[in-house]
């Protein structure tokens, strides 16, 4: 099943072309990893999927992006889109409120008011993020008083609480220690059963460990996109091979 389909996607920041005509089909209920050197347009691509690029002044997007066959740029409600397509950022950034309120922020945004429903969502989301047992007695504590790894899982739980269909993750573990990284990877693997996940990573092993499909970006183009195993064992393109073997410029 295809979740996202992109046709001839081009993105400009002012005069600078960050993405140069990308066609891609992102599968549902799988983990798709994006790899590539810094500045090649991975984040830009990701932000096209939930239209966070709309915020960037001077940013122009061309082409077509569809989610389940619906054009998300043509008269599609942005807020609804972002409810369906959640995002976890590189830097964990819980809001300055209690964990409970952090997790409940999304559901409240989308009109859920009843205490019992919220309680249930909070518990469920935290459980999915494997955090429930650690924090269940401290739900009223300020979210900022937790460790970096815990904060990132709070952010994942917060994104999950709006019940998205797709989860975009932009280098979610790059600011974390190995143990926290391992925890997050576990969470991601677990989530794949219910969600389509797109994850940007600089860590090649991580891509191999968790993803089903991998796309290699270079200078605004997708050089190679395919099954992770194949891409890493028998890359078709020379540049991919150079990159994954670490012989890249």
């Amino acid at each position: 099943m295809i979740k996202f389909e992109l046709k001839d996607l081009e993105v400009f920041y002012g005069d600078f072309q960050a993405l140069k005509g990308i066609d891609m089909k992102i599968p549902a209920n799988e983990i798709t990893a994006f790899i590539g050197p810094s500045g090649c347009g991975k984040t830009t691509f990701l932000k096209c999927l939930n239209r966070m690029n709309d915020l960037v002044e001077g940013c122009r997007v061309y082409g077509q992006v569809t989610l389940d066959g619906e054009d998300i740029y043509n008269d599609y409600d942005v807020n609804l889109l972002r409810k369906r397509v959640g995002m976890v950022f590189q830097k964990p950034l819980p809001f300055k409120m209690s964990i409970y309120d952090n997790i409940a922020f999304g559901p409240r945004t989308h009109g859920i008011r009843s205490k019992s429903a919220l309680d249930e969502i909070v518990e469920q989301s935290l459980t999915q993020a494997t955090l429930w047992d650690e924090v269940k007695d401290r739900l009223n504590m300020d979210a900022l008083s937790f460790s970096g790894g815990q904060q990132q899982r709070i952010c994942i739980a917060r994104a999950l609480a709006v019940r998205p269909e797709v989860l975009l993750m932009d280098e979610p573990t790059s600011a974390l220690d190995p143990i926290s990284t391992g925890k997050i990877e576990e969470v991601v693997m677990e989530l794949k059963k219910k969600y389509s996940i797109v994850i940007v990573t600089h860590n090649m092993q991580q891509a191999v460990r968790i993803s089903d499909k991998t796309a290699f970006f270079l200078l605004g183009e997708v050089i190679e996109f395919g099954d992770t195993e194949k891409l890493f064992s028998v890359p078709k393109d020379k540049r991919t091979e150079e990159y994954i073997t670490g012989r890249f410029g």
Binding site: N79, R82, K83, G86, F89, L93, F95, G106, T109
Partner: protein, 285 residues
């Protein structure tokens, strides 16, 4: 080599002396106000002075409760009017304002902060007073008039402080909220603004300080009757007005009582400074 070190020492002392002058200024202010004001409070009786409901210098009755209440009412009114408008305008400046009109708008608000209070008072006199008189009746010189004018006068303070604290909130907070599907407004009012809470609070407290200390504008429009405030449309006299109105001809105990009024005002301001310090401390923790 030696002359150099002498120059060094001299300048060091000059700089230090300048710093000492600042401290001396505060000490002098405190000493002179207290020395002249506190004895009066003793003579009148602290209780009678602070809680006395009558101010009748002709009969040596000096109760400044009417003025204390006057200051409090007028300030509260100014806050009720100025704070919401100020915060909303700050939100506009920081989050909505198109780039093209930002610079002139910012300039206008800076100018608003610099306009002398006599000019404000004059404006209140020729515009707000007649307006209140015609719309609500009474003489127009009233608590309501003072509240509206002061509310307007504290806007630049509140807008300035709130805007800079809103701008200090990392953009990521806003983006994180948006990414959850929240609207622009919800992201701002539920996430960004609460994150800037202490800055906003500082702005409000500074606004309170400005409103309590305002003198000329209030004198020109508030009526200045030295009696207990009786209603929104009745005249009122603030602590500051009390001093300016009577200092010109006061003598002896009357004069000391006015200085004591200044002491009370000073204490109010110190309390406000304490609040500010507490807010700052709250941020650091």
């Amino acid at each position: 080599m030696k002359s150099k070190s002498i120059k060094e020492k001299v300048m060091h002392i000059v700089f230090l002396a300048a710093a000492m002058v600042c401290i001396m200024a505060v000490v002098l202010i405190c000493v002179f106000l207290l020395a002249n004001g506190v004895p009066a409070m003793g003579k009148i009786g602290v209780f009678n002075f602070l809680l006395g409901k009558t101010w009748r210098p002709g009969q040596d009755i000096y109760g400044i409760l009417p003025m204390i209440l006057g200051s409090i009412y007028v300030t509260a009114g100014a806050i009720i009017i100025g704070v919401p408008i100020g915060i909303m305008t700050a939100v506009f400046m920081a989050r909505y304002c198109p780039k093209k009109i930002y610079a002139p708008l910012k300039g206008a608000i800076d100018l608003l902060a610099g306009i002398p209070s006599v000019v404000y008072g004059f404006f209140g006199l020729v515009i707000i007073v007649p307006f209140v008189r015609d719309t609500f009746g009474g003489s127009g010189n009233s608590i309501l008039t003072a509240c509206v004018l002061l509310g307007f006068m504290i806007l630049p303070t509140i807008i300035g402080v709130c805007e800079s604290s809103l701008r200090a909130v990392p953009e990521e907070y806003y983006q994180n909220a948006l990414a959850l599907g929240a609207t622009h407004e919800r992201s701002i009012f539920k996430v960004v603004l609460p994150t800037a809470k202490s800055g906003v609070l500082t702005g409000v407290v500074l606004g309170i300080g400005r409103a309590i200390g305002e003198t000329m504008a209030v004198i020109m429009i508030a009526g200045n009757q030295a009696r207990m405030p009786k209603g929104l449309l009745k005249g009122v006299r603030t602590l500051t007005a009390n001093i300016v109105m009577e200092m010109g001809y006061a003598a002896d105990l009357h004069r000391e009582a006015l200085i004591a009024t200044g002491v009370v005002l000073f204490v109010f301001i110190l309390l406000i400074n304490l609040c500010l310090a507490a807010i700052k401390k709250g941020v650091e923790q």
